[in-house]
Symmetry: D2
Amino acid sequence: MSLNSFGHLFRFTTWGESHGPALGVVVDGCPPGLPLTEALIQPWLDKRRPGQNRNTTQRQEPDAVRILSGVFEGVTTGTAISLLIENTDQRSKDYGDIAQAFRPGHADLTYHLKYGVRDHRGGGRSSARETAARVAAAGVARAVLDALAPQVRITGYMVQMGEKRIDRARFDREEIGRNDFWCPDPVAAAEWADYLDWLRKDDHNSVGAMIEVVAESVPPGLGAPVYGKLDSDLASAMMSINAVKGVEIGEGMAAAALTGRDNADEIFLEDGSLRFGSNKAGGILGGISTGQAITVRFAVKPTSSILSPRRSIRTDGTAVEVVTKGRHDPCVGIRAVPVGEAMMALVLADHLLLDRAQTGGVRGRIG
Amino acid sequence: MSLNSFGHLFRFTTWGESHGPALGVVVDGCPPGLPLTEALIQPWLDKRRPGQNRNTTQRQEPDAVRILSGVFEGVTTGTAISLLIENTDQRSKDYGDIAQAFRPGHADLTYHLKYGVRDHRGGGRSSARETAARVAAAGVARAVLDALAPQVRITGYMVQMGEKRIDRARFDREEIGRNDFWCPDPVAAAEWADYLDWLRKDDHNSVGAMIEVVAESVPPGLGAPVYGKLDSDLASAMMSINAVKGVEIGEGMAAAALTGRDNADEIFLEDGSLRFGSNKAGGILGGISTGQAITVRFAVKPTSSILSPRRSIRTDGTAVEVVTKGRHDPCVGIRAVPVGEAMMALVLADHLLLDRAQTGGVRGRIG
Amino acid sequence: MSLNSFGHLFRFTTWGESHGPALGVVVDGCPPGLPLTEALIQPWLDKRRPGQNRNTTQRQEPDAVRILSGVFEGVTTGTAISLLIENTDQRSKDYGDIAQAFRPGHADLTYHLKYGVRDHRGGGRSSARETAARVAAAGVARAVLDALAPQVRITGYMVQMGEKRIDRARFDREEIGRNDFWCPDPVAAAEWADYLDWLRKDDHNSVGAMIEVVAESVPPGLGAPVYGKLDSDLASAMMSINAVKGVEIGEGMAAAALTGRDNADEIFLEDGSLRFGSNKAGGILGGISTGQAITVRFAVKPTSSILSPRRSIRTDGTAVEVVTKGRHDPCVGIRAVPVGEAMMALVLADHLLLDRAQTGGVRGRIG
Amino acid sequence: MSLNSFGHLFRFTTWGESHGPALGVVVDGCPPGLPLTEALIQPWLDKRRPGQNRNTTQRQEPDAVRILSGVFEGVTTGTAISLLIENTDQRSKDYGDIAQAFRPGHADLTYHLKYGVRDHRGGGRSSARETAARVAAAGVARAVLDALAPQVRITGYMVQMGEKRIDRARFDREEIGRNDFWCPDPVAAAEWADYLDWLRKDDHNSVGAMIEVVAESVPPGLGAPVYGKLDSDLASAMMSINAVKGVEIGEGMAAAALTGRDNADEIFLEDGSLRFGSNKAGGILGGISTGQAITVRFAVKPTSSILSPRRSIRTDGTAVEVVTKGRHDPCVGIRAVPVGEAMMALVLADHLLLDRAQTGGVRGRIG
């Protein structure tokens, strides 16, 4: 059972509602002896934190993480690690209107249908605020990666906002951290900025996005047939992020259009190292990493809470036009970038430990 | 841990290699008292079975399922259900060449790297033959659906082969079973037939495909936040199918291009029933079913085993040109259609039982 | 994986060290709509709380529970329930001596061997303080029982302290709450009081105990073959409590001495209700409840931390005589009584939900 | 969920009914590269097999195991291992009488109540025949032990039959395999033989037993707080065996009578190795192995199926006197000995892999 938990061996359980007193995560299965402090986790939360620019919700919270267990004198002890983030800026009154009306495209309706009761304030459990807990958990995952595979490098960025895609020819890794959108293309970033301003102020609308997360230098051999496939776990991980509607590995949906000849990533051995003619597979074959860069993309739908009126019903069944005030990201995809990176780190840490259990980390030899 | 198991409560474990003596599945958590016989499961296996036309592998096997446990006098007893399918047509000699050479795009390489040893015959555990076990398990899942939600209707079909897509205007549900491709568009089906003949005979190539699986009349309220989301489980389920590289729910990757106004599925109440202005969400909001049709698409990459030579290496590191003889589907996507349907049935049965546990099947009222 | 989690469907995860800032539990899988407040959970924690009399550790803490998630306006929402208890009275300096020396009979040694690092303060994760989190979780389990099987009555009591057993002929349920030992025999309670005074003050020693937990009016049909047996889960649950060394169901170890004729609980039907000639089985047959009282006993070893010197070694390998000062229960079995009740409630809640999933709560008919 | 599965990482799932066509087990999580053949597993099944002497059921079956997957050319491949044992001697007619009447002390009643339907033949899923599947799985576990901890030595034996206990002063390890009862005391073995003859032939009765299983040379550091404790898992494992009513570790239930001074296993370092003054703890402290011998005892109740009449009811509610003919062990405890050994091997293999995942097998240093 895993309603609020994720992972095989490195397993985390999140809890908390958008407007409750706090939210948090318990991380189970972490190895002992790893350096871990709040200062090591906090930067990842800061990266995800809202209110940093005009394009994300203006909710202002420090999102300060506290380690409540599992760490002693700056190192992990091998016991359960509890991380807590207080909610300090819950303006519940903003959400009074949505207690009785279902926002189209939002989980209001399904929570009501399934549970009868729901904490409507800020979306309660369905709020993207839950992802702060994942990002905190990923701080622990990164400690595992640093210990077992320090060469791994995880990079997330936006490749599309609405209908506007980046130009891959202009891809600049350094640019990613320089704009509000984790956009690797400076020209696209500038266009997106204008577009989003207009969308928010004039159009009272929101927009979807596509995020790409790449993990480089991942050891080969992570993953397992058949239901512990690395790509299957990544698909589940990314699809569990709020508003995600599609997940791709490597060529993704475009693989449908390829022929076998084009799709074959030819294999070479150079100076004793594996080399490939291409990376259509996105670094995963048969559910197991090849050693090539693992490439995942996911699509985030536009924010459901918009200022434009949409037709809906109230809990009493009467018709209503819903207009959602409050603080909402016009493009939730922006904040999904560090969350996607977090899920990548969490899945990789889990599979590193799984692989250590099953194979002892020993690899089959070539040559 | 779930290396070879899938599901929360209705949980199945598959085993078996392509060229071992048999393959099978153990289904755990099935309710008692459900009618179940081999005759009820066999038609689903027959639908998936290879060798039925010239476009799928010419391997000829009856794929006859045997129920070995968990059923007494034609009804389930509530104990573990073991299903077994014997492998009767293993021509291992066909595969002698690939014991020492890695097929590009195939799991040969990663199995070797991870495990050191592997059953190379027919791909061993990485063979799509494993999906026969899932299809058998889905026979049990359908018995659960028949008992708890008999109105549910699951339909899978191909919407794209290579670069050739169906025309949705010609969508004809009756057509799906009439051609070799589970194609709902008779014109596309004819084109695909010619294309595949040429691809196989003249081009010595293979091609990818896109499959859509729709579940209609699914009760609202199935699924759960946050890591038991229905869409997260469906993504994991579909991505675990051999050769799948992308999964979409509803608008899927195209959601990235939408605005919030366009994406909002407006909500109405008509004669006491929920109605929606559209189904961009693909029947799932916040990880929980809305009652609308659940729509999943997934992309299948082209078969890696082709007659055209590709560059690769042998296990000893020497370079080689790999040409794969043997019986291989030029478009594995065709057989992925019944497998996708099976995974849908398995996920829905699991969530029906999970929901019964948590809510007793009671729904929140509207009006 | 379940290093810090327990339960199939109603699954809880505890975290926290004895002298960390707090400890807590996340409860997953709870049904929605159940009344739950801190005031409903607190009495169970108060029952377990130390410092209430001279026979338990003099550590004084309010052990006030806070609900941080999963509850809205006094009812459960179906999402993860996070409960937190702050540690307010950690006198870490008391434990300075044990940082470098292993107490015989204590987890100091094995934690050191396994993890290399450990939070030695108060035993860290191995402290019985962890059981406060279970007792809090059981507050949620009782809400489940109240909703699905309100007639269930769980009663725990001590039946033996050291070599002194209760006289079953003097069993008085009302007496249990009147003495410091949850002892149903007033004569034994008086003897135990004198004995424990002497043991603590004069003998500088501690003593073991045996606890019995009975669940009456449990519905028949809870549990499942083969590894979800109710007794198997109860054995695991009770053995996971600190210092427990043995678990019995019904006749328990004494069943080894019985013959089949004596052991047969004869079955009758009276006024349409099942009746039994005896309850040797302790209410469980084939891992499934019969409807008779479920009877579990477990033995708790004496507190390892005593004022009498015992020979041991330091982490540097040198020999040492260990004398443990600090606040320690001379008979930890006393506080194990409410913990045993808690584990019974947790296991029953889990199996009530599991049974609802698999059978819908429908029972096979007799007559 | 684990209705028919056991284990964290090394996880097995059993299936099969007493009188179905076959029974079996799927073992998941086994490392690759381990030698495994049917010839390596078969001896363990032969040890458990009925019909070997007059004191166990006269059912005659070869219990020949077949490996159906997960092994290639004599070594494990890291994929799911499926083991199958055919049922060849099902005399179903013998059991016709019990289809409609509940044997007191047997799972007949609870299966009927829970499931409504049941395979009554030979007890169906509740039959001790299920343990053959565990013993087969333990053949795989032993391959793991041989690879990761070859020094481990597991020995099971009976220490009590009915009221007759062995004399520990006469304990002779060599004697265990020489008599029909796995009895280490030749005098007791002779007494038991006479007693059991009389019980079966003249008294038409059965009798309980107590089994002890000892694992020597287990590495320290196996197990984990809090719900992955080695003793908690062993308790669950042993209690899941048919007819077991109590489980003890080390001093077990007798720990209740000890004082802290007596219970302390004093610790020494001799020539760099840990030594202990005693082993009251049974080799486990805080849920983690100390390196001392792990000692588990469990009580098996007498066979419920006896030739002496017991009062019961039929499924239609009418009263009946049940006399059970057919082939039944007068003391099922005898065959529980190899099953207890099997469960010990399975739990240890699981924890060896778990420990490798979490700590990499590195131990904290002393000195």
